[in-house]
């Protein structure tokens, strides 16, 4: 081990009964807290991000084939092309639109989706998301309501709802009698994905084709992959776009939700950027601590120079100390962050209990359990950035040490 590295370690961690210096402990604590907060925030943000992503995939599949709102009449051909790819687990045709729904005196304008429930493999597992009713009871005169919509309409399983489509309104303009379609609520579902749960209705594809007078037309095909892998999804989309006929084209779920995902990524990156300033503040603590060490060790530095130490070795001696402080901060901060995240839910439960805010958490944030996702990229970025900042913080005192004149250093009081 080079002498400057050994001396750097010894100065930070004196052997025997001697304790590390107070300034070293304070600067290491600063970096530890900075790293801990960064890891916690990034992991929680990553948790929300991951949660959103998995809900998006759950409610729409990984790939979507459509024709930009136009009606597709070649359903069979499309399904043959899509299912020819080995990576496809399920491909389900759908038609979608907006309707007016009334239940008693309660109106709503939900998004409606007609799905081909006759397909053996489904893209969206509604049967697993039902909180009331059953899929088996579903026919061409019934609908599934999302939980919030059911609440808004005061409807439950067995309730009857009236459906008005835009086509009916067109007919009304032509003085035709407008009779709503009466449908039975056969189930209530909840996906955990707020935009989907707040205002959607699901019905069979034939019912939707009837309501929108589509004939055998569809608006698109949802595709679920055997492997939930973004790269596979991109690969399939590229392959499908080379094969699909007419105006039909394929998109990944990421293309469909590009704006929302951009906002999520932007929020996360901004958090990271802002919180990095904590590390910068800790770096000042390192710089001050190291400057004090250099001042305290001035005569020792003079001695080392007199014995033949090169300026770059003296600079490395103090740069290494900054690096070690960063390394300790990264190690301890990461461990403390993982511990804090491990016990996050009991802490949230405790805080919710003492502030009596559990209901508010559920209502406004749609969570009672804090999601966490450990992204190795985040961890590496935080670690490398912290080590670079800490090492650079040791550079100013290191340069001061390197350019000391030995005789002046030895003469210093």
């Amino acid at each position: 081990m080079p002498w400057y590295l050994q001396l750097a370690i010894r100065q930070l961690f004196p052997a025997g009964k001697h304790r590390p210096s107070f300034f070293f402990l304070v600067s290491a604590l600063g970096v530890t807290l900075g790293v801990m907060i960064l890891v916690i925030v990034q992991s929680v943000m990553g948790g929300f991000d991951h949660e959103h992503r998995s809900k998006m995939v759950l409610t729409s599949g990984q790939v979507d084939v459509r024709a930009g709102g136009s009606v597709l009449h070649n359903q069979r051909e499309l399904l043959t092309i899509i299912r020819a790819h080995d990576e496809v687990a399920a491909a389900v045709p759908y038609a979608q639109g907006v309707v007016m729904l009334t239940s008693g005196q309660h109106p709503a304008f939900p998004f409606i989706m007609g799905i081909d429930f006759s397909q053996k493999e489904q893209v969206v597992p509604f049967s697993q998301m039902l909180i009331a009713g059953s899929i088996e009871a579903m026919d061409d005169d019934s609908v599934l309501l999302s939980s919030r919509l059911a609440e808004k309409l005061s409807a439950w399983t067995g309730s009857m709802v009236d459906v008005y489509t835009p086509l009916m309104i067109e007919k009304l303009k032509a003085d035709e009698v407008m009779l709503p379609r009466q449908l039975r609520v056969c189930g209530i579902y909840e996906t955990g994905w707020t935009p989907f749960d707040s205002n959607t209705v699901v019905c069979t594809l034939p019912l939707m084709q009837d309501l929108y007078e589509l004939g055998d037309g569809i608006h698109g095909v949802s595709v679920r992959l055997k492997q939930d892998d973004d790269e596979v999804a991109f690969g399939l989309v590229t392959a499908l776009n080379a094969e699909l006929p007419g105006r039909a084209y394929a998109q990944t779920w990421m293309d469909l939700n590009r704006d929302f995902l951009w906002v999520l990524a932007f929020e996360k990156n901004m958090m990271l950027f802002l919180l990095l300033f904590i590390i910068l503040v800790a770096a000042f603590a390192i710089a001050v601590a190291q400057l004090l060490t250099v001042l305290r060790k001035t005569r020792e530095i003079g001695l080392l120079e007199a014995m033949g130490a090169r300026p770059r070795h003296l600079a490395l001696l103090y740069c290494f100390q900054g690096f070690f402080i960063g390394l300790i901060g990264v190690g301890l901060g990461s461990v403390l962050a993982v511990l804090a995240l491990h016990y996050r839910n009991p802490v949230i439960d405790f805080l919710a209990r003492i502030t009596q805010s559990r209901a508010a958490l559920e209502q406004f944030y749609q969570f009672t359990q804090l999601p966490v996702y450990y992204d190795p990229h985040d961890f590496w970025f935080i670690s490398v950035a912290t080590l670079i900042i800490s090492t650079l913080a040791g550079l100013i005192p290191a340069l001061r040490a390197a350019y000391m004149k030995p005789a002046e250093a030895l003469r210093s009081e």
Binding site: G16, E305, A306, R310, P406
Partner: protein
């Protein structure tokens, strides 16, 4: 002439140094010339503040003279590149200071080995242990300098100075912080080991008796070096 020059390991000619203070420039050394021959010892005495330490600093080139020239083993020091100067000094010159300047984070053995490591030489543990044994600290090799007495610390610094087989030892009042007995012990060891190792010794001291132990004695007064 050639044989005499070959014996000289350190030579200074016309060294001058002055320091700037609030009242102007204070000349400390004026036209000091000195030759140190291989295996010989010399002492420099003088009043406090007369420039003895400054002269040693100039001879080891940890301080730059205002005028004059310096040769280390017949090599003009001003021609040595700045990047090589520190390493050349670490290998040619051993230095003993009044205040020992041991590294408190390292034990006695570590301090002795540090001299070799800093100079880029092999850290020969056997030699370091041998030197510590020679200065009577065999049992205290693993002791922290903070637990050693003043005399013991100075003996460690003597061992450290000798670690790289220096041609010249520059000792700046090595007994200045020690009582008479400890000082005597250190001086005896210093002169004896320098003789054993074949190192020349330049000793700065106030003590007439210690100065008398060297082959040549000089007196530094008003910036001028005179033989005694």
């Amino acid at each position: 002439m050639m044989s005499t020059q070959a014996e000289i390991v350190l030579r200074a000619e016309g060294l001058a140094k002055s320091f700037i203070s609030g009242t102007g420039s204070i000349p400390v050394l004026r036209d000091v010339s000195l030759s140190v021959r291989s295996g010989r010892s010399l002492s420099i005495r003088g009043e406090s503040g007369c420039g003895k330490t400054t002269l040693l600093n100039l001879l080891s080139r940890i301080e730059t003279p205002d005028a004059g020239r310096l040769w280390w083993q017949e090599r003009a020091v001003e021609k040595v590149r700045a990047s090589s100067l520190a390493r050349a000094r670490g290998r040619l010159i051993g230095m003993v200071f009044q205040s020992y300047y041991l590294v408190p984070e390292l034990d006695a053995l570590g301090n002795v080995l540090l001299a070799a490591r800093v100079a880029g030489l092999k850290a020969d543990k056997a030699r370091a242990a041998d030197l510590l044994e020679k200065v009577g600290l065999k049992e205290r090799m693993r002791s922290s300098p903070l637990t050693l007495s003043g005399g013991e610390r100075q003996r460690v610094s003597v061992a450290r100075a000798l670690m790289n087989h220096p041609k010249v030892m520059l000792a700046d009042e090595p007994t200045g912080n020690l009582d008479e007995h400890s000082g005597g012990v250190v001086m005896e060891m210093l002169t004896a080991i320098c003789a054993q190792e074949g190192a020349s010794l330049v000793l700065v001291t106030h003590n007439r008796a210690f100065a008398a132990l060297t082959d040549e004695q000089f007196l530094l007064a008003e910036g001028v070096l005179n033989g005694e």
